[in-house]
């Protein structure tokens, strides 16, 4: 059993893991860089170890310091969170060699899943459907045409170095292939100085659907339902929701079954996510597997009532899963908005700074996971995730309204600080998003329109509606004879009657 666990991470996920540990009665060792020395998790932990300067590669990515911290602090387990070292098989291996329980899959499995080509091959062997295409670069138009004929049109010619819609061409018929290939390669060479291109089947109207799975070390695995993360900008997820309402219950069950089967076939243990691309007809294609807890895990937690981090730790400690597939019953709808300290109007440039005001929304089925408190400073050294606002409601429409309400309640202010709050409110008002018919390219395509809507929202309602002054049924506080603390400085105190008897 695990008695003392070191959290090799920072920010909201470190706090999240510390909470799970507290509830399990596990002592917490936090590690922190110089700039995080006063962070929330440091205050919560039983022991905190300073592991290096702000630059991640000298602190949160620096394995020797973290392992040394674990050994000196007497930890018997390490939770890597997400990002940083969470998918580093070497780290998992080193932890094992030092006698530390690593909360995650075995290093060999992690290695396999971390390599896109290997993961694809293994999942294909396990019978999962793959998106037709090649992982290898295509060198000539002739070669590309042969591949396109094999996988079927429409195909997409993609620059390896491209991204965000640049350097890709959709080809709908064989006669257009050569030109598209030559142009894309020329653009890739001119713009990215790298002419490498790939050819893949093009899915129009595709959705990003991922299945949360949990496997123990005894060969048991369950799926905990799926999340739809189609609202992403250049592969950065912004808003996640569950369940994927565009799939039929049968399709969802089948997807869950495939995901668990795939994970168990490679000996996966712990929490993980299988990512699929789902086309308009509901056909799903395996993309990749994330061998860690994910940012958007609370969506699943709200839908299923299962504490994923807790289960993850228990599984790592060698426990059997306490529930079976039929015990997992997702209910209602959940949405998560990533509140990032970024300025969407300036190309999502990081906009960190001191959080002079941080007012967190509250209310029924409203959860805000963050590692920051009012007065903390968002450091430019790390990712810009300020927190995750997650709501649950019995259905999607109510969840959207609840999320909008919660977003409107939220206040983040500070010099230079910008957030994605307004952008989320604008997104949740978009007819395509409301009708759940957006696809993975939606944001790359419609961002200007969404930003314009966000700007108009900002102008109209900076906070909560206050068009008229409040209705007063009692005398205004100014007339109050008792000075309250906030006005004490301005209004001269009436001379107090002397209470002394002498």
């Amino acid at each position: 059993m695990i008695d003392r666990l070191l959290i090799a991470n920072r920010g909201e996920i470190a706090v999240r893991i510390a909470r799970a540990c507290r509830e399990l009665g596990i002592e917490v060792v936090a590690v922190h860089s110089t700039s995080d020395r006063n962070s929330a998790v440091v205050a919560m932990a039983d022991e905190a170890v300073h592991i290096g300067p702000p630059a991640p590669r000298r602190s949160y990515l620096h394995v020797p310091n973290i392992v040394e911290a674990a050994l000196r602090a007497g930890a018997d387990a390490v939770h890597p969170g997400y990002g940083f070292l969470s998918e580093d098989p070497d780290f998992a291996e080193i932890c094992a060699a030092e006698g530390l329980t690593f909360v995650g899959p075995p290093p060999a499995v992690m290695q396999q899943m971390g390599n896109k080509a290997t993961a694809r091959r293994l999942m294909a062997e396990a019978g999962l459907p793959l998106l037709p295409g090649v992982v290898e670069p295509v060198r000539t138009a002739e070669e590309g045409r042969a591949i396109a004929d094999e996988i079927g049109y429409p195909v997409i010619v993609k620059a390896a170095a491209g991204g965000g819609g640049r350097g890709m061409t959709v080809v709908r018929a064989p006669e257009d292939f050569d030109e598209a290939f030559v142009t894309t390669r020329a653009v890739a060479r001119a713009v990215f100085r790298d002419p490498t291109v790939y050819v893949e089947r093009f899915l129009s109207g595709a959705r990003h659907v991922e299945v949360q799975i949990l496997c123990d070390a005894h060969g048991n695995g369950v799926s905990l339902g799926e999340r739809d993360c189609s609202l992403q900008r250049r592969h950065q997820k912004l808003l996640e929701e569950g369940p994927a309402g565009h799939l039929t219950p049968e399709q969802r069950t089948e997807l869950g079954r495939l995901a668990v089967h795939g994970a168990l076939s490679v000996g996966y243990t712990g929490a993980g996510t299988m990512e699929f691309l789902v086309d308009g007809s509901g056909a799903a294609f395996f993309m990749e597997m994330n061998a860690r807890i994910q940012v958007e895990h609370p969506v699943t937690e709200l839908l299923t009532g299962i504490d994923l981090v807790r289960e993850q730790i228990l599984v790592a400690a060698g426990r059997r899963l306490a529930f079976r597939q039929e015990d997992v019953v997702p209910r209602g709808a959940a949405i998560e908005c990533r509140i990032n300290a970024e300025d969407p109007t300036r190309g999502f440039a990081p906009a960190p700074g001191r959080l002079e005001v941080l007012q967190v929304p509250d209310g029924p089925w409203t959860r805000f996971d963050t590692g920051y408190r009012q007065g903390d400073t968002v450091s430019p050294d790390y990712d810009s995730l300020l927190g995750k606002l997650v709501v649950w409601a019995p259905d999607r429409d109510q969840a959207i309204r609840r999320m909008d309400r919660a977003l409107a309640e939220m206040r983040v202010e500070g010099p230079g600080v910008h957030t994605t709050i307004a952008l989320h409110r604008a997104l949740l008002r978009d007819p395509d998003v409301v009708a759940d018919r957006h696809d993975v390219q939606f944001l790359d395509r419609c961002l200007p329109a969404v930003l314009a809507r966000a700007a108009s929202l900002d102008d109209a309602a900076p906070g909560l509606p206050a068009a008229r002054g409040g209705l007063q049924l009692v005398p205004t506080p100014a007339a109050d004879p008792r000075p309250d603390r906030s006005t004490e400085g301005e209004i001269p105190c009436p001379p107090r009657p002397s209470l002394s008897t002498t």
Binding site: V42, A43, A45, D46, E47, A48, V49, H50, I51, G52, R57, R58, V63, P64, N65, E68, A69, R72, A73, D90, E93, I94, A97, R139, T140, A141, E142, E143, D178, T183, A186, V187, R189, A190, R193
Partner: protein, 577 residues
């Protein structure tokens, strides 16, 4: 809550146990397994740790393709040498520690499918020093390459000649140099990878005699070691003294590559020199470019009356594609080769080996850059003598490997300045013109922008001279001409018209053999389309001119140059009247 002390950051500490290595350069702790995967390059400071010969072979050769050459064992100890220990004793220990029988390993292998002879030195064996056996094996490798007609790839790591074999070691320099000379005469490609460290008798012989020299990033390469230099002349040495980067900036190596880039580079270099399996790319491109080629024949400039001053201005637009732009868009592959191998690498001239439509060529051109920073770095495309000397040695390279030459001309002129004069600007230009006029391989030149005077002519003495629609060749810049003859540079437009600058006149005067059309408004309006048009023209001209044998080529080139006399157009001298 308690706080415990920071684990001490890794300062150069005693070698930690087990799976960890401390970087010799920065002291960072490296997990050995990852270091192996990272090719023994420190992720923290990019220091390239030394590699054994076997690790090098694994790094460079196609898996399973290595066949080691057998050399009859010999234990030379010609001097019966003894220092603190007997020499045979030291040899035995070196063998035990490195697992090699000598400081160099020779064999054949495939690199990207191309069969090569590979000779790799091992610094772990007596510091990679060259004695009789190393000399025998390295010259043996060159002979093997000669015998089989294969390229030779050597990887050097050596402290120099082996002291224990005295003067016999010294003479190995002559032995291996001779072998490399024969390789050169036979027109066989040799590539030398200079790794840390390469010094003395090795760097002053075969290590720097290969056709292409590639320095591994950070490698120290030189003749006398820095300590010797410092002790002898008591001078403060620059920080990067004798590094591969230092060598490149002094024009002494063709390229500097990180370890991970070495193999991909070798694969491309070998392919661009015709080694290895003909790639399907070559043939495919060849046919599909030819297909639409013939539809679009050379447009004889319809608007022969383009205003010369407009032409001059368009040729100078900063967004106009430069030589490097064309190399990345109109050509299929390009490996730049830097330096004049003597003094410096002139950034105003770029050159290297390239492929276009299935044909392998040597490309040379002026490079201006686009932004202010680039333009300053490239000296506005005005070459120094070392630029022309780079061109010269690349012309030699083309001739030795039978590769046609393509030149792209775009310069305001050769750099006017005292340093250029000191280093012999006239000599360099003259030699470049002479060399290209007598080169035994075809030369196709394209004036892509400004063709300023002798500085341009050095790169456009050719069998075919193409001019882009908005390019010109002139004896002097219009401003210069105006300043001299009109006594004011303001008269430049008038001067441009008087000199009849532009493609049309060059074509009608028989100086240019064809005009390459540009997108409407000039090449800068649609660089990709301009590149496409240039590519078609080049492929067509190369196909045509490559049919000729060397003798015919030289003969027609000489006659072509003799014919250009201006008698079918007005002579330039009358411009001022």
């Amino acid at each position: 809550m308690t706080r415990s002390a920071t684990p001490v950051p890794p300062v150069p500490a005693p070698q930690p146990p087990g799976g960890w290595v401390s970087c010799p350069a920065c002291g960072w702790l490296l997990y050995r397994k990852r270091l192996d995967r990272d090719l023994h390059v420190c992720p923290e400071c990019d220091h390239h740790l030394r590699l054994s010969a076997r690790a090098r072979i694994d790094l460079l050769a196609d898996p399973g393709s290595w066949t080691e050459a057998y050399f009859a064992p010999s234990t030379p100890d010609p001097l019966a040498f003894t220092d603190l220990r007997d020499y045979p004793d030291r040899l035995a220990e070196a063998e035990r520690r490195s697992g090699e029988s000598e400081a160099v390993v020779v064999g054949t292998a495939r690199i990207g499918g191309a069969e090569v002879v590979l000779a790799v030195m091992d610094f772990g064996f007596l510091g990679g020093s060259m004695g009789v056996e190393v000399g025998r094996r390295v010259s043996g490798a060159a002979e093997l390459a000669l015998e089989r007609g294969l390229p030779l790839v050597t990887v050097c790591a050596s402290g120099g000649a082996r002291m224990q074999e005295g003067v016999f070691s010294l003479l190995q320099m002559a032995r291996v140099s001779c072998a490399f000379g024969r390789l050169r005469e036979a027109g066989l490609l040799s590539v030398c990878v200079l790794t840390d460290p390469t010094y003395g008798g090795v760097s002053a012989s075969f290590a720097t005699l290969a056709s292409v020299l590639v320095g591994e990033r950070g490698a120290h390469v030189g003749f006398a070691g820095p300590r010797v230099v410092q002790e002898t002349i008591r001078a403060e040495l620059p920080r990067d003294f004798q590094t591969a980067e230092f060598l490149m900036s002094h024009g002494l190596v063709d390229r500097v590559e990180s370890r991970a880039e070495l193999r991909p580079l070798l694969v491309r270099l070998l392919a661009l020199h015709g080694a290895g399996p003909a790639t399907p790319a070559d043939r495919a491109e060849d046919t599909d470019t030819d297909a639409d080629e013939d539809v679009d024949t050379d447009v004889d400039t319809d608007d022969a009356d383009a205003d010369p001053w407009d032409v001059v201005q368009r040729a100078r637009v900063t967004e106009r594609p430069t030589t490097l732009d064309y190399l990345h868009t109109a050509f299929d592959d390009f490996v730049e080769l830097h330096g004049d191998r003597v003094f410096a690498d002139d950034p105003a001239v770029v050159g290297g080996v390239a492929s276009i439509g299935g044909r392998r060529v040597v490309v040379l051109g002026h490079e201006k850059g686009h932004t202010v920073r680039e333009r300053v770095a490239r000296n506005f495309g005005m070459p120094h003598p070392e630029g022309y000397r780079k061109a010269l040695r690349l012309l030699d390279h083309a001739e030795s490997f039978g590769l046609p030459v393509v030149t792209l001309v775009d310069t305001p002129g050769a750099h006017p300045g005292p340093e250029a004069e000191e280093r012999g600007q006239s000599h360099a230009i003259a030699e470049a013109i002479l060399r290209s006029s007598r080169l035994r391989v075809p030369v196709v030149s394209v004036v892509t922008g400004e063709g300023g005077s002798g500085g341009a002519l050095a790169l456009c003495t050719s069998d075919r001279l193409l001019v882009m629609e908005n390019a010109f060749l002139s004896v002097i810049s219009p401003e210069g001409c105006a300043a001299i003859l009109w006594r004011t540079a303001v008269a430049a437009p008038t001067a441009a018209r008087a000199m009849r600058l532009g493609a049309a006149h060059l074509r009608s005067a028989g100086i240019a053999t064809a005009v390459v059309p540009e997108p409407p408004g000039g090449a800068h309006t649609d660089p990709l389309a301009a590149a496409g048009l240039l590519r078609r023209a080049l492929v067509r001209e190369l196909d045509d001119v490559c049919r000729l044998d060397a003798a015919t080529l030289l003969d027609t080139r000489a006659r072509r140059l003799a014919r250009i006399s201006g008698d079918d157009g007005r002579p330039l001298q009358t411009v001022g009247s």
